[in-house]
């Protein structure tokens, strides 16, 4: 076991634990959000270990830096302090859901061990340079579509959340 592999298992465990903490924390929404941040940062670390540097940076900047902060902002805006959410009504459905989740994990894990060892990477793989060139040449339409989507989302969020549009 080399250092990266140890780090990977470390961060993987951290991610799983904090994800569980997020889902299981029924009393404190902010704490759940903070657990989510830990998951995100652990995933970013794993991305670094997988040599996807730009994705790692974007993961932190956008997910940890913006999206979860937005969650926190809304929680604080609505002042959802220690709201208690007892388990819902559809008990049967939830049991079924849990069973299915377990089934899905089992199915996916059946594929374990089938992948070869990852090959050595070419120089500059996953860096902002290579990825930027790919984005602005091969995937330019995707970028344009993303910009359109973001515009639509801005407008939609404004319309939804603003009390009075002037």
């Amino acid at each position: 076991m080399t250092v990266p592999v140890i780090l990977f298992y470390l961060f993987a465990g951290l991610a799983v634990l904090s994800a569980l903490a997020m889902v299981a924390n029924v009393r404190n929404t902010v704490a759940a959000a903070m657990s989510l941040v830990i998951t995100m940062v652990s995933l970013a670390a794993i991305y670094v270990l997988l040599e996807a540097y730009l994705v790692a940076a974007i993961q932190i900047i956008v997910y940890a830096g913006a999206i979860v902060v937005l969650f926190l902002f809304v929680v604080m805006l609505l002042n959802l302090r220690s709201d208690d959410f007892p388990p819902g009504r559809q008990r049967l459905l939830k049991v079924a859901g849990a069973a299915l989740g377990a089934f899905a994990v089992a199915e996916l894990m059946r594929g374990a061990g089938v992948f070869p060892a990852p090959p050595p990477l070419p120089e500059g793989f996953g860096g902002y340079r290579a990825l930027g060139i790919a984005l602005y040449t091969d995937y330019i339409l995707l970028v344009e579509m993303a910009s359109l989507l973001l515009t639509a989302a801005i407008v939609g969020a404004l319309i939804l959340a603003k009390r009075k549009i002037d």
Partner: protein, 383 residues
């Protein structure tokens, strides 16, 4: 290799965190006193020696350390205790990628005076900066206090907003330098720029000597004047100091998110703000003011000139000292600029802060990117 990194990190921690940051509190007090026609801090003494009030920071630290650490009733204890650490940590580790000296060669060993120089240095700064929000927000939430909550709310909105514009305002810089590595940027600024060079590069006119000699340092501020202004503004807003101190807002929210903190935990919030001032100064220096480079005197000139008389090794050593001194002078100048601004400008109203971000700086930064791209195209097409 490891040793080198450790030495550099220790250097940063000692010089920047332990030495400069406390001194800044003194600078601020003196600065404000000068601007308000007062004398300022001058009381703390050791055996009657006041040293211009320079002992005040020491007194502050001792006082803060000796105070009781209070956790308010009904607060989320863990988050309340962790928040100051989360606030302070990003400010410190951001310093890892800021170069405080150039790249030097000793025989076959190359010394680059920066703790870590990843390929994606600027992205690292952004990522770290975006994490800094959590300390504030957690503190605001965990204090179980309405003022704190409001402060946290404002902080989250303000910091998300200004992160966007902060990123966009420096895109021009790394378009010009073609790299995200801060050390590379500093190296690229270690030279001169012909004032009338655009005539040559874009229009292809050969310059006569009396135009050729007009040279300015090849600093980012001359490539990106608008970017400099916007970056300075957004960084100050990120730091939540006046005139952007809405999350703290002493006059409305008393102290905002760290209202319920006392003792050294309060001190951490307080310190992290000042550390960030230094980080901002260092970043601006690196991105826009040539970093460690001496204007009009490139590294080769110094080493070549001095080395021919006193030998290569001595010249390089001298160069390191000169560069570090230059860097510190620039940083201090930038710190002073921030202080002056902080004590000069009136505070914004909350909606004005948001308008400034989304309606002025954001369009301007996008226009700046566009124009920069256009000019780069022109220059590349011309050469």
């Amino acid at each position: 290799m490891i040793v080198e990194v450790v030495v550099k990190s220790l250097f940063i921690l000692l010089v920047v965190v332990a030495a400069i940051a406390p001194v800044i509190t003194w600078i601020e007090r003196k600065q404000s006193a000068v601007m308000q026609d007062r004398i300022g801090a001058n009381r703390a003494d050791i055996a009657g020696i006041t040293v211009l009030g320079l002992l005040h920071p020491l007194a502050d630290v001792i006082k803060l350390l000796s105070k009781e650490d209070v956790v308010p009733q009904g607060a989320n204890r863990v988050m309340h205790l962790v928040a100051p650490l989360i606030a302070a940590a990003p400010a410190i580790i951001a310093y890892a990628v800021i170069p405080f000296g150039g790249v030097y060669t000793f025989g076959d060993h190359t010394l680059s005076l920066v703790a870590a120089n990843p390929d994606w240095g600027l992205l690292y700064i952004f990522a770290i900066g975006s994490l800094a929000t959590y300390g504030t927000v957690m503190a605001g939430w965990a204090s179980n206090n309405n003022w704190s909550l409001l402060g946290g709310l404002r902080a989250s909105a303000q910091m998300i907003s200004y992160e966007v514009t902060m990123g966009l305002s420096v895109v021009g810089v790394f378009m010009v330098f073609g790299t995200l590595q801060l050390q590379d940027m500093a190296v690229a600024q270690d030279g001169t720029l012909r004032v009338f060079g655009f005539l040559d590069v874009i229009f292809g006119l050969a310059l006569p000597w009396w135009l050729e000699i007009w040279k300015i340092p090849a600093w980012g501020i001359f490539y990106q004047p608008l970017g400099f202004l916007m970056f300075l503004t957004t960084m100050m807003a990120e730091n939540k100091r006046p005139p952007f101190d809405l999350p703290e807002a002493e006059s409305e929210l008393i102290a905002g998110y760290f209202l319920e903190y006392s003792g050294m935990r309060f001190g951490l919030f307080f310190m992290s703000e000042f550390i960030e001032v230094v980080v901002i100064a260092g970043l601006i220096t690196t991105l826009f003011l040539g970093g460690w480079s001496v204007p009009w005197l490139s590294t080769e000139t110094i080493i070549g000139g001095v080395g021919s008389v006193f030998g290569q090794g001595f010249a390089t050593g001298l160069c390191i000292l000169v560069h570090f001194a230059t860097f510190m002078i620039k940083v201090v100048a930038m710190i002073w600029l921030q202080m002056a601004l902080r004590w000069t400008l009136p505070r914004f109203r909350y909606d004005q802060v948001m308008d400034l971000c989304w309606k002025i700086i954001l369009p301007l930064s996008i226009a700046n990117i566009f124009v920069t791209g256009l000019v780069i195209l022109l220059v590349q097409g011309g050469s």
